[in-house]
Amino acid sequence: MILSKLYKNIFLVTLLSLILTACATQKKVAGPELQGDVYTGTDTVKYLADGVPDRVFFATNESILTTRSRETLRKQAAWLRKNSDVNVVIEGHADERGTREYNLALGERRANAAKDYLMTYGISSNRISVISYGKERPVDSGSNPLSWSKNRRSVTVKAN
């Protein structure tokens, strides 16, 4: 009886450690979606055309375009050059962890960072308008670092 109890305990401990390892690996799966605190996943991303993502993501309080963001925007620029009748609105957004008024300014700064990059790749400024929503229109309503990273974004939307 004592022996079987011991076996039972060993079995339980093994099971528990297996579950814990499973949890740990699951957490690691979420890891690669963030680089620093910039979102690199595809969860909320829509496409202007096949292979042309509509949005880029930013670090907290930043409006600097990452290597990946610049790659996305070059794709957008190439697509816009091919579709010269399309005008776009770039929406700038911030996460919920900042004061409302500052976030409006930050969203505007982010949208313009994307606009400027499109312009250096030959897209005329009169085809691009910008609007900041600050923290007013999150795409993910969670209150955690991953949700916030998805919300720090600028999104290029067809205007016509």
Partner: protein, 446 residues
Amino acid sequence: MRKLLFFIFLFIIPANSFALITVDITRGNLNPLPIAVSPISSNDKTNSELEKVLKIKDLGSEISKIVENNLKATGLFNPLNKDAFLQEPDISHVKPRFEDWSLIKAQALITGKVELNETKLRVEFRLWDVLAGKEILALAFTTVPKNWRRIGHIITDKVYERLTGEKGYFDTRIIYVAEEGPKTKRIKKLAIMDQDGFNTKYLTLGNELVLTPRFNPTNQMVTYLSYFKNLPRVYLLDIETGIQEVVGDFPGMTFAPRFSPNGKKIIMSFAKDGNSDIYTMDLENRIVEKITNHPAIDTSPSYSPDGKFVTFNSDRSGYQQIYVMKSDGSKVRRISFGKGLYGTPVWSPRGDLIAFTKLHKGKFYIGVMRTDGKGERLLTENYYQEAPSWSPNGRVLIFYRETKSDDKGEGHSTTLWSIDLTGYNERMVKTETDASDPSWSSLLSN
């Protein structure tokens, strides 16, 4: 709003010259003053006539309840339970038996009488010092019956002023943004209510996003940000007529508006090509002036009460900090040097302090500092809170809080809160819906 002028103040007996009971409001009051608010008396005839007009059974009692709730909410007074009152309201108002009131430990007593003269409501009240056995204040007000709640607020203002030596903040309103719906598609409306949460009115329908409403000094106009036609611009709204107009003709987003202390100018941010600077527009001659000129974000401007200085938020140092400049934009200097980020500076109506929001190590604080940045004092810490607005006497701050959502994005709410400058007496301000961006009016009657 013109109806404010309806009030007629009558001094029945001039207030006594020597100071008796007083309440110290400069520190957290752990021993609130025991005060008896006797129901305001009226005869049966008045009651039945008022019931016909207002559908309220005992108006006198209702008015005294307003006074009682206001006094209680200050944390400085302890209104005593009416069950213990020994003397009838009508007799107390004429000649209180002070022994009876001191027996229940009341130090002050408020009595009153309601009458209906033709179609006008007349309310008189008296404030008595129980220990000294003296009347120390007596006033009467006449107004249209539907203004009855305001009489309760004005009585509180007069009692507060007599006992603390400072103006009250009860006959005031709060303008705020009423919120509903999921976070990703939040519907926001401008709403206005009395300081105690009653008489809520919605000023916009919720068709477009609206943010950050602020009163002008006479409380007749509001400036705010609207996304009307998806063009975020600063607007001006006349509360009485409902007429709205865009402020200025800017080729881009204008935001973070406030009135100058004389109400003649609006100061705000204008964002262009990724840069936000501070501008003013004169409402009479429409002249626009650029006040700051810096590649960093400059926003959340707020005038000093004398109009000579402006405090604002800028990230020119690399992060959000608070600055003060002369109102022409010269002599800019940073005043916040503590750890963390600082935003939403707002100048106290007394002129000596600036209230702000601070973000440090993932927590949000509401605090105050002197106008040179010294003497920083944090009043409250929370998961998220911001945007303090001062009571007209500069003794209380109202702000909003937002709770954390769970990982499904649910369980989120926004609510209004107030806290005394002392850091004591934190309380939720009730609103019909979720609420944010509160702004306190000045005193409606004075």
